[in-house]
Symmetry: C2
Subunit: 454 residues, 2 copies
């Protein structure tokens, strides 16, 4: 009887908790959908600050603006965490054209890849060798490649339902392609934009040089012009391609992560971090990538404060600097956490766009994953269909070394790579309801993680 009684008591408590949790999550979600400021925060970040590549004046302004947002919502403490960041600048002129026999030309829509060296004003003029992948490149070798421009025409696979899978597969050509081409004596590199749609917007993104080979200029070409160029190469009248970039890497500059926190009432030394990255590429407003993740994280603090929810543990919203072309903000956050011996129990990143939330990824011990997964029924009615194993994000990844359970919000992925790193990644292309609903789900999972511990 005693056992039975205990069981009944246990289930009763569990039931009450589930009911309480359900009520709190409904309050959180309602408040975010009715009174939430995420969309207005995002407007400010996109329209009043604008593109904010690391080291730029706009990145500095974004630091000030988000610091003020968190002060205004009443965070217990808001501070800047200094870090040195690379300062790459696009420079003024970047252009490209196909040159046909007789002097006729066709303008290509291109943009320099992030961190690449410029060609200088004289540009690069050479024959173009198209390859579908690295195997083709290696097979052609120095004999064919030397003195030419290599054009990687590897499309994102449209049949992968999760578009991040296609991005991962195609991404190596953008990141490693230039040096792999330079290994065989290429003088320039053109990469098909990593985009899931076909139009004339080039998509930039980071590349990295292998110091064993010459650093050659590298550009992304719009998907439409990638298809055009591929056809032009079959035309005997096509001679060469000219392209010109004036980007350069300047000296590193001082910048900051922006951190706001609500102090825990019971276990203030246990830290729960959530964040996005504050820097963006320079071509657009960085609305989905990753203004969304930033404003959602700020919104989590806002709704907790607005509803008077006092977390047991310390909740930190972090605007990480320099995710796009260096990761220095994430590095610094980890290093300081480690140096200070901070106890980071849980970290969540939002860096997959401000779209309808559909799931969470969790990277941690099996039992912790199972515990978090047991909360799924509380979130299902809001469209969270899935809590899966494996998760995290570029900025919080190192915290794993401190034993932190990592997570990421996983929104619908269909539209992300239409706009990612392109001029179309702007505020107008974010849905207010989608952005807010995801923020509400982040706040709800953070609430549960704080309440029950991990």
């Amino acid at each position: 009887m005693k056992i039975l009684f205990s069981l009944i008591a246990f289930f009763s408590i569990a039931a009450v908790n589930a009911q309480d949790d359900s009520t709190v999550i409904k309050k959180i979600t309602d408040d975010v959908l009715i009174n939430g400021k995420a969309y207005e925060y995002l407007r400010v970040l996109c329209k009043e600050v604008g593109p904010r590549l690391s080291g730029s004046p706009q990145a500095a302004k974004a630091v000030e603006v988000t610091k003020k947002m968190m002060e205004d919502l009443g965070a217990d403490k808001v501070w800047l965490q200094e870090c040195m960041v690379p300062h790459w600048v696009r420079g003024k002129k970047e252009d490209a054209k196909i040159i046909y026999a007789g002097g006729k030309t066709y303008k290509l829509d291109v943009t320099a890849l992030g961190n690449s060296v410029g060609s200088g004003d004289k540009g690069v003029t050479a024959n173009v060798i198209e390859v579908k992948n690295f195997d083709e490149l290696h097979a052609l070798g120095e004999k064919v490649i030397k003195g030419n421009i290599v054009f990687y025409n590897f499309p994102m696979n449209p049949t992968y339902i999760n578009t991040f899978r296609a991005y991962g597969e195609a991404g190596k050509y953008r990141f490693n392609g230039p040096s792999q081409a330079a290994k065989y004596g290429a003088v320039g590199c053109i990469v098909r934009s990593l985009a899931s749609n076909v139009n004339d917007y080039p998509h930039t993104g980071v590349m990295g040089y292998n110091d064993s080979f010459p650093k050659i200029p590298a550009i992304a070409v719009s998907t439409l012009d990638a298809e055009y160029l591929s056809k032009a190469l079959l035309n005997r009248m096509m001679k060469q391609v000219f392209f010109r970039t004036n980007c350069q890497m300047l000296d590193s500059v001082k910048s900051y992560n922006v951190i706001g926190e609500i102090k825990g009432t019971e276990f203030p030394d246990e830290i729960i971090t959530l964040g996005g990255h504050l820097d963006s590429w320079d071509l657009a407003e960085g609305a989905h990538d990753d203004g969304s993740g930033c404003v959602q994280s700020i919104e989590v603090l806002r709704v907790l404060k607005a509803l008077g929810i006092k977390p047991k543990r310390t909740i930190r919203a972090v605007m990480f600097m320099n995710e796009e072309n260096g990761g220095k903000g994430g590095d610094k956050y980890y290093e300081e956490a480690k140096a200070k011996g901070e106890k980071h129990i849980f970290a969540m990143e939002s860096d997959e766009g401000g779209f309808t939330p559909r799931g969470f990824g969790i990277a941690g011990p099996k039992d912790v994953y199972e515990k978090i997964k047991s909360w799924l029924p509380l979130l299902k009615q809001y469209g969270i269909e899935d809590i899966h194993e494996g998760g995290g994000g570029a900025d919080i990844g190192d915290l794993k070394k401190l034993g932190t359970v990592l997570s990421n919000i996983a929104p619908d992925t269909q539209r992300y790579f239409d706009v990612h790193h392109a001029a179309t990644d702007k505020w107008e292309n974010v849905s207010e309801r989608e952005l807010k609903l995801a923020a509400a789900m982040m706040a709800s999972l953070i609430y549960l993680g704080d309440k029950y511990g991990l």
Copy 2:
């Protein structure tokens, strides 16, 4: 032993079938995502045809264009099904303003409600009585309402995660509001646009008069101006509102449903219908509502033909005419099916926008629902999370009387009412991947329904 053997055989066949089905569904989905024409069909419907309200020249052009699309993809038979449709026209001038003391005015963004009578050029000028709902209206009664304009300011509830629920709740003010106001002597009616966002686009939509009361002019005001007007009513300097519409209902005209079919090889008399509605409101391109449903239905025929899948049963794609302001196409399709004694086993409608597919609704006997639900594991990897009870659509609803199992594709609902019935419902606001993925899921469920019967 025999029983055991039979069981093994049964499970083996089931396993082989599941594997086959999985392979076919992958082929269907891959082909739709790689070679699918739904997005291009939609471009034609939006950009080359444009807004296509019943009775308009564009509606007639849409009939021709979609007929040709189905002929071109090789449908076994394509024909037009004649029906008479109401012919409501907006007329040229529609405008509204708030009049302040001293003659100052504020322009309101408005549009006439579909099927409403016009005010004529002289317009309506009167005091405005704002009500939140019908209870308030009834409480005020004739004493307060008579001679005035009633303004229904009932917002779509942002806390409903499924936005159709909020639309349903608010929709009665648009449809019934004018006559309910006229009952108490109102001279005009203003309805807050049924929109989930706040901006300056008015959203039209159908209304219906109750013949017991005078027919008064009725307009929708943008959500932004609904909020402005509500505030202005607290301002002692505000006097009246003027609005003017020149819409009118002309004589009914001849129009058509457009039907394309692939004849069944084994059970040609068993018909599976899928469709969307070809007419749209006149303010925009009807991209989500419901160009998407039309082109997805055509795409289902295309992919079956392209992959050489020969259905056992007859598959029909139907472009229904006049869903928006009369439903005459749906009526006609049902009447003819009934008169001919056709055996309609399954019907699916797509009329909730061309967004990421997340589920299907099914209305039919419990055992049939369970059978269809058992196919869910085949669709999960494509993002279909749910097959729920209850479903159908305005155009296929009557088929239930013939014993037809009804269904609808249920896409993500967060963005639909941002654009629904407003000038923003255009091709650019449809995502190619989302549209195609939903078409692939429709084709897959149709494939299974055809293969196994219902």
